[in-house]
Amino acid sequence: MASAVHQVTPAEASADPQPEAVVVRFAGDSGDGMQLTGGQFTLSAALAGNDLATFPDFPAEIRAPQGTLFGVSAFQINFGSVSIETAGDAPDVLVAMNPAALKTNVGDLKPGGLIIADEGEFSKRNLDKARYPENPLDDGSLAKWQLLRLNISQLTMDAVKPFGLGNKEALRCKNMWTLGLALWMFDRDRQPLIDWLKAKFAKAPELAEANIAALNAGHAYGETAELGAQGVGQLHVPAAPVEPGLYRTVTGADAISMGLVAGAQLAGLKLFYGGYPITPASAILHHLARLKEFGVTTFQAEDEIAAIASALGASYAGSLGVTCSSGPGIALKTEAIGLAIMTELPLVIVNAQRGGPSTGLPTKTEQSDLYQAVYGRNGDAPVPVIATRSAADCFDCAIEAVRIATQYMTPVMLLTDGYLQNAAEPWKVPDMSGYTPFPVEFEARVPDEEEAFLPYARDAKLKRPWVKPGTPGLMHRVGGIEKAEGTGNLDYSPANHQAMTEIRRQKVAGIDVPDQVVEQGGPGGTLVVVGWGSTYGPITQAVRRARRQGLDVSHIHIRHIWPLPRNLGDLLRSFDHVLVPEMNTGQLKTVLRDQFLVDARPLNKVSGQPFRIHEIEAAIGAFFDGAPRNEGGTLSADDTQLPNPVAGHDDGSLRGKSSPQSA
């Protein structure tokens, strides 16, 4: 079995023969329950104290035709005794439940890695569907990996026989058998999973028992079948050194939902969520719909426009309006965002980005809506933009979005992405008493007789008052037509529009955002890698490795995309070079060039897959070509390692390998 993913130097590898981290990928048919298997395996790793990151990767179709290449669903987890920030580059272990899963995933497996294949599914028919002329389990084509072939289907059927299930239902327990074996391999406790199965199938105890039997059988198989003779042994991945405290796993969607609720509570507001189903944002609607005790009202609107319009109406009436969507839905909401800007009402808009344009790649990840967030409206229409970097970070970012929206009376765009929405990671449960409330004060003071109420009067932050309809004496009208300064009456006059445009710009530009910190290295130096959003993991690891190599490289990760932190320009100019890796064609890079006149260089990937660490490492290496310790080393400026969309080498895997899933 291959060792760790962190194999930067031979010295490092030999210093610690025990694996620091292991990457396992479960792949099967979209009906095989791979996401559930991965999720439960994640929980077992979390309960064992490992740090971890996951990457669920599934097709857009709910039930793609069985056995086909495009119907493969995969779940990758990287877990270890060290700090883990990405789902891992190349798996150490691949569980392939059918030929299509093997074909679409084996190219990513590390040389020497372990394949566990269900040979019961390698029938002629399934081989044909996966376009294998010969059975790869027999023809030696898998020679560079370790192969463990088991008839998981048959073993599962045998295990669940006593429960009298039909063939189809019995085979559904395959994933539990596989999970049992995986739990044995990593010496994990089965009990939490058994408890979970009992709870899940409380109404069908025979299904619970069958699944538990399959799980136990898989585990027992590992123990008794002398897999050691085949080179497969148990592996102990110790707990990661993490801050003491209470932990749980969390996905980005969960963390955003809870963060929005927490933000509304800190602001002392009810939360109104207007949403319309869209992948991958719907999970937030689902989560919030169950939190009514926190003053949450969820409204599934007739379309994306009604979703945001209702949220804005709720804000007008004194609630915190929130809407979430993904790129195409955000596009539809654009006009209403403009109305929120014009009426200066608080609103939080979450964009769970996915591959675009148009419908694009609904279940794949991308960061290509940055321009849309910052610039994508008619008129001069500034909106604060915040980007989340990890599942756990989504919680604090959501609170920050609520803070800015209510403290400045403005819509706020919160950017997350498909990867963050679905990926789970351990989360140290926050102490809610540590968050300072920022209660909203509604305007209720009725002005004196000769004094008029001014709905567009402003405080030092240029914020206008928020009046709840129902407040006596403060009746006023708002709308999308240009407003006169102060009174808010219709006013098209040239000087007024000039002044109001400037006020709206200044209000957003003046938002108090924290100074930019440097994650690693700096300030000052040869190279800074500047990222935003979910590239945080791979950039962190790549910069860490490069720094261990002695390269003078730093990492800055921007949360506040708009307005940008005030010190950012000086920080960027303190480095000789600026590299901006993004899952788009260079959007933050352009903004940084525009705002600071720095020579920011892009590193772009738009394959629908997150960056791999080595891709960023290679790009860093290019800035240090010929530098000491970088001659032909791991960080060589080898451009064949870089993503090259022209050659189809866009997923960071071996050159020439085309992924049928992305074809």
């Binding site: 209403a336 309809p469 009746m475 009208r477 709308g479 219709l490």
Partner: protein, 341 residues
Amino acid sequence: MNEITTIRPSSPKDWETDQEVRWCPGCGDYAILKAVQRTMPEIGGAPENTVFISGIGCSSRFPYYMETYGFHTIHGRAPAVATGVKLANPELDVWIVTGDGDGLSIGGNHTMHLLRRNLDCQILLFNNEIYGLTKGQYSPTSREGTRSPSTPFGSVDHPAKPCAFALGSGARFIARGIDVHKNLPSVLKAAHAHRGAAFVEIFQNCIVYNDDVFAPFTQKANAGNQLWLTDGEPMLFAGGTKGIALDVQALTLKVVDVVDGDASGILVHNVRNRALAHLLVEMPFGPFPMALGVIYDDPASTFEAAVMAQNAAASEGKPADLQKLVSKGQTWMVEKEPHAL
């Protein structure tokens, strides 16, 4: 309660703003504005609890002229904004002002869903069968053959019928009024009294782009073509000389002459009869008079009440404990660092 709550009596003047009204001279919107301002004191409305929400178009300037809370939103979206307002505060008296283009073309989807959900509000759809603010293009209610800048050879599409659309969408209150007619306040009062979505089509004359398009029944000389409906009363028009009867064989309506004031055989209006409402909103003008007043009024449970009830039931006995929320699910305790890095 010993203390006497004094409801501040208001006059129509109290509902006027200091803003200069900017409709064209002679526009039917002025009459509607007056009618609404006259209605508000009569229904005992409180300006601070009243919200007028509009979309885009001539009619949608309406909120600026009402001394209430007002939201002039974006084209077609007033029903969606109103839904958020009402769900956030069900105590507010919500009025939506829209037009034939705003409410049936760009915003038709929202109008439909608001009606089927039955949000408690009044929808005043000013129908002038034309796009006024954009200078006279034909609208979804324009009759076939309407010549306009965008249809110089006449429009070819079949017009939408606002009340038929509303009824088909599930509306529980349908009424019609005329901008300048003295009955308009009573129609508005009935709409306000109805708990749920109340849909009122108001025939509004656009003096610039579609003048007199409704003259065949709105002009004084043509008042005989107005069928004013009253619950429990026979459907008489033309000064009581004609009435509406049911053609039982064809299952349609028919116009019959009333001889010597004998109204036997004339249909008696029943505002709770949905089948009758369908017949009335589809009744073609020309062979038939224009059905006006309250066509249908049969209240059902409202959307915001159902949402509030469900919110309350789902929250029952569950304290809003944030700490508990973030600590949910399977958790584990890390006591101390297992080993140093």
